[in-house]
Symmetry: C2
């Protein structure tokens, strides 16, 4: 069974997001080993965006593992349908990676430098979403991918 | 102050979605008059998708008002950034409509026939989302549009 890590920056603040993540966490765990890693966000009260991104990039860098497929959720990334995402999953799984790592940036996104270390940039919507909402959307799409791959009932 | 109606099919089932909608409902109401209308979903235990869509389309049709800008949230619709959505809002507001009506389909989406009655088809993501999750995403984007138009802090 494949391992998926979702690596986020900053705690999940909104209670409703937390409840939604719990719900989909259970659903996804029917299909794979899912781990959530929360990186502490930079201190946004002093410094500037570039410094915050660099601070967070350093921590992100330490979690990147070459044996895992590294996907960054980023507005500049590839957009696709859920069916295409399920296809991508299948292709990546056949490439011999030991797991999938999804990184979700902080409130100010990723530095350009750290983005270069991703194997793939994925955009969940052309619209700007809070980094909290992206967690919810991502885990729902991971769940949906599994149901598409297994031809199960959820997706229509 | 402009009036927005969000018209959905079927109750909001997930508790976390309900909490999220409540949260954004309060936020959006700082800017406009927001009304939620829930249309009873078709009985999905008998009949087929076409019949369910037609049943729901009849109820949708009764709520369409020519004085309002009628927007259907649909996968086949236009995709755009949040900034473009805010621009669209401004343009539509200048066209003399008395309000905006956003329709979100049921679990099986809209019939092709009823879609023709929309002034605009809007897609929130190229990915398939549950019609419950679309409610959350839509109200968050409406809120975001207001903050973009007013040049307020939320959007970055």
């Amino acid at each position: 069974m494949r391992k998926i890590r979702i690596i986020c920056i900053g705690k999940t603040q909104e209670k409703f997001i937390k409840s939604g993540l719990d719900l989909y966490d259970k659903k996804v765990k029917r299909y794979c080993n899912l781990e959530w890693i929360i990186i502490k966000a930079a201190n946004y009260t002093s410094g500037n965006i570039q410094q915050w991104q660099e601070h967070e990039a350093e921590k992100i860098g330490k979690l990147i593992q070459s044996r895992n497929m590294t996907i960054f959720c980023d507005e500049s990334g590839h957009q696709m349908s859920s069916i295409n995402m399920a296809d991508k999953f299948t292709n990546w799984a056949n490439k011999g990676y030991s797991g999938f790592d999804f990184f979700i940036g902080g409130a100010f996104g990723f530095s350009e430098e750290i983005k270069k270390k991703a194997n793939y940039l994925l955009s969940l919507s052309p619209m700007t979403l809070t980094h909290q909402m992206i967690r919810l959307l991502l885990v729902e799409q991971i769940y949906r991918s599994f149901t598409i791959i297994r031809k199960e009932k959820y997706h229509h």
